[in-house]
């Protein structure tokens, strides 16, 4: 272990400009996901809605089964939010990666690797 070890913030292969890793965002998917997430945080905390006995379910007061039900509701809300955001995130990353791949293909010998997936961003930037 001879070489001095870089601290985490040592320059990574020299000073590089901050190149975008994603294309511009469309607001709609993020707004929709944000609303779902906000519902998932706020509604389980509104105690007056559920601090009561009736209606019971199988002998269990409303207070208990209602809150346990939110386990499933929150999981569902987050799943939808995840799908929405993943789709938009992939689209945004593809914008940058396909540009970078096209850029790299013009300047470098094509076909050396399957550009467009890994390494395309910095390949384009360098």
């Amino acid at each position: 272990m001879p070489q001095p070890v870089p601290s985490p913030d040592a320059p990574r292969a020299g000073v590089r400009p901050d190149t975008p890793v994603r294309g511009p965002a469309r607001p709609a998917p993020y707004v929709a996901a944000g609303v779902l997430i906000a519902i998932g945080i706020v509604l389980p905390l509104v105690v007056p809605i559920y601090a009561r006995h009736e209606p019971e379910l199988g002998g269990m007061p409303f207070f208990y089964w209602y809150q346990l039900l939110w386990v499933f509701i929150d999981a569902g809300l987050l799943y939808v939010a995840y799908v929405l955001m993943r789709k938009e995130d992939r689209r945004r990353r593809d914008v940058v990666r396909s540009q970078a791949a096209g850029h790299a293909a013009k300047h470098a010998a094509p076909g050396t690797d399957d550009a467009g997936d890994t390494g395309a961003v910095d390949g384009g930037a360098l």
Binding site: M1, Q3, P4, V5, S7, P8, D9, R12, R16, D18, T19, P20, V21, R22, I37, A38, G40, I41, P44, L45, V46, V47, P48, A51, R52, H53, E56, G58, G59, M60, P61, F63, Y64, Q67, L68, W70, V71, F72, D74, A75, L77, L78, Y79, A81, Y82, M85, R86, R93, D117, T118, G119, A120, V121, D122, G123
Partner: protein
């Protein structure tokens, strides 16, 4: 998981006079003990083999914090699900939440359910960005991130010290949880106190040994065993016990009757199965504050940074709530124990609410199955204790040793130091629990929850903006720490007269009672914001920042994120 808030109140519950066999002496539960020992041996074997899991021969020995402290930063969705499940839902939770339900009812116990529900939307939002920036810069701890984002060492040291101090009593509480199991098994009734404590010492020494050799891989593998056992135990208990005791209806009736009986010491009912209007604010602030605090704990962040992709933690936020469902039913076992007439008598003859769930299993199941359930709880102490000690020692190595003492430390030395410190941390926790009253561990853990929440503004604001001035954040942190500690000290338990009697207090100059951690957090955030405005008005420059905005968005496919093992190999060759 930080379920402890309510516990001091329940511990000091006046002892009901009608407890049978209050002698306190227990005979050894042989069948169950054999099963517990067998499962412990299986887990120990897995722990020692873990250092060979997903490591190529040249990486054996785990010579960097990425390998030892973060399992190679390569855990996928399945492993992460088990790891975080084992990390967040600790043995102490399994013991303390039903104990609080048994003793004081919904407000102090069942808040754990909304807490672990609203937790995951918060995780979903925040943790991807923390993953990306940490992967870009090789951050191992939350204080690494704060140091990189704000520059300087004062704020990051404050964050690191807060993390270590909040984590230490949490480790000690895992021992408290394990001790509840051992007590019920009949170990601890002997006359020699060293012999009584020996099983706990052996368990922790073995734990320390395989954490030393296997790092984060050891608890990750053990968590799989522990989680499967605990699901088995709870599913069986929740199906079988209610039918045995006349259905949920009569269980809730019995709980209602017990909890609404007036306590002779305080002249108030012990609790309620449905919170009254005056408890609404306490209930939701306990849930929200605890949820905000949980992923500020170093051991939670360790679990996040060990994942292999930006979206692993988001996928896990969708499926981790299954553990919350299990926790909810486990909490209800506290009521089942009321109906079943479970008598949690400690070795000194006093009532110890923490024994209620282990005792419930031992009383109502064949001894081998009780052994499985008790082993699940005991192993449930090992997983978080291992991860917490790893996280605390990483904080020490990175943010105390490297940042303040020896800036040019090599990754190999970092790993060596972390391994040694993880041993010290565990010995410290063991000495603490054996040498001191366990209520000190509980008090400190209660404070730990309030303290760790004070790192939220610096960490979470930092994930989105560099607007805050770092000195203003530091002053806000200090204000929150001081107020939170003082307010918790001033909560006096009405039955015993002791300080640190709970974590709920009125907001100053009002009669609204809320979780102290949340009040302290609001104070902290307001001070930090006002301080930033004032410093800006005086044109104080504070622009140091070694992160770039896109660092918070990179994913595992971006090349600027160096694959960790290659870096490591280069360093070793």
């Amino acid at each position: 998981m930080n379920a402890v808030q309510a516990l001091p109140a329940s511990l000091s519950l006046a002892v009901p006079a009608d407890v049978p066999d209050a002698s306190g002496h227990r005979s050894i539960a042989g069948g169950a003990l054999v099963v517990v020992i067998l499962l412990f041996l299986v887990v120990a074997a897995i722990g020692f083999l873990a250092s060979r899991w997903r490591t190529s021969p040249e990486e054996r020995g785990l010579h960097s914090l990425d390998e030892w402290g973060l399992g190679g930063r390569g855990f996928g969705s399945w492993v992460t699900w088990f790891l975080l499940g084992g990390d967040l839902y600790t043995a102490y939770t399994f013991v303390a939440v039903p104990a609080a339900m048994w003793a004081t009812g919904a407000v102090s116990g069942f808040f754990a359910v909304p807490y672990t529900i609203v937790l995951y939307p918060i995780v979903f939002i925040l943790m991807s960005r923390l993953w990306s920036v940490s992967r870009s810069h090789g951050y191992v701890t939350p204080a690494d991130f704060v140091g990189g984002r704000y520059g300087g060492k004062v704020l990051s040291t404050a964050i690191a010290v807060t993390g270590i101090v909040a984590t230490m009593p949490y480790i000690a509480l895992q021992l408290v949880g394990m001790r509840a199991v051992l007590t019920v098994l009949g170990l601890g009734s002997g006359s020699n106190s060293f012999v009584n404590d020996l099983p706990l010492i052996i368990a922790f020494v073995v734990l320390a040994a395989y954490t030393y050799t296997g790092g984060l891989r050891a608890p990750a593998l053990i968590a799989v065993v522990k989680d499967l056992l605990i699901y088995l135990a709870i599913v069986v208990a929740v199906i079988y016990l209610p039918s045995k005791f006349g259905g949920w209806g009569s269980i809730f009736d019995a709980a209602d009757t017990k909890l609404s009986t007036t306590n002779p010491a305080t002249h108030k009912p012990a609790g309620a199965i449905i919170p009254g209007m005056t408890s609404f604010n306490a209930y939701w602030t306990l849930a929200l504050g605890s949820a905000m605090a949980l992923f500020m704990y170093p051991h939670s962040i360790t679990g996040v940074l060990a994942t292999k992709s930006r979206n692993t933690i988001r996928r896990n936020a969708v499926v981790l709530p299954l553990y919350s469902l299990m926790l909810g039913f486990l909490a209800l076992l506290g009521y089942v124990a009321i109906k079943a007439g479970t008598a949690p008598v400690d070795t000194n003859g006093k009532i110890n609410a923490q024994l209620v769930v282990p005792q419930l299993f031992l009383d109502n199941f064949p001894s081998w199955f009780a052994g499985v359930a008790l082993a699940a709880i005991a192993i449930g102490a090992l997983v978080p204790a291992a991860i917490m000690s790893i996280a605390a020692s990483n904080l020490f190595t990175r943010n105390i040793y490297r940042d303040l003492i020896k800036p040019d430390v090599t990754p190999r030395t970092e790993a060596k130091i972390s391994k040694l410190v993880s041993l010290l941390v565990k010995v410290g926790a063991l000495v603490f629990v054996l040498g001191m009253d366990q209520s000190s561990a509980i008090n400190l853990q209660l404070l730990g929850g309030i303290w760790i929440l004070q790192t939220f503004p610096a960490i979470v604001a930092g994930l989105y903006t560099r607007w805050f001035n770092k000195w203003a954040l530091l002053v806000g942190w200090a204000a929150g720490m001081i107020y939170g500690t003082a307010a918790a000290y001033n909560v006096v338990n009405p039955a015993t007269g002791n300080h640190f009697g709970g974590s709920i207090a009125a907001i100053p100059w009002t009669h609204t009672t809320v979780y102290i951690g949340v009040t302290a957090f609001v104070l902290n955030a307001v001070v930090a914001a006002l301080g930033t405005l004032v410093l800006r008005a005086f044109k104080v420059r504070d622009t140091a920042d070694s992160t770039r905005s896109t660092d918070y968005e990179v994913d595992e496919d971006d090349v600027r994120v160096q694959p960790v093992p290659e870096e490591l190999r280069a360093e070793l060759s």
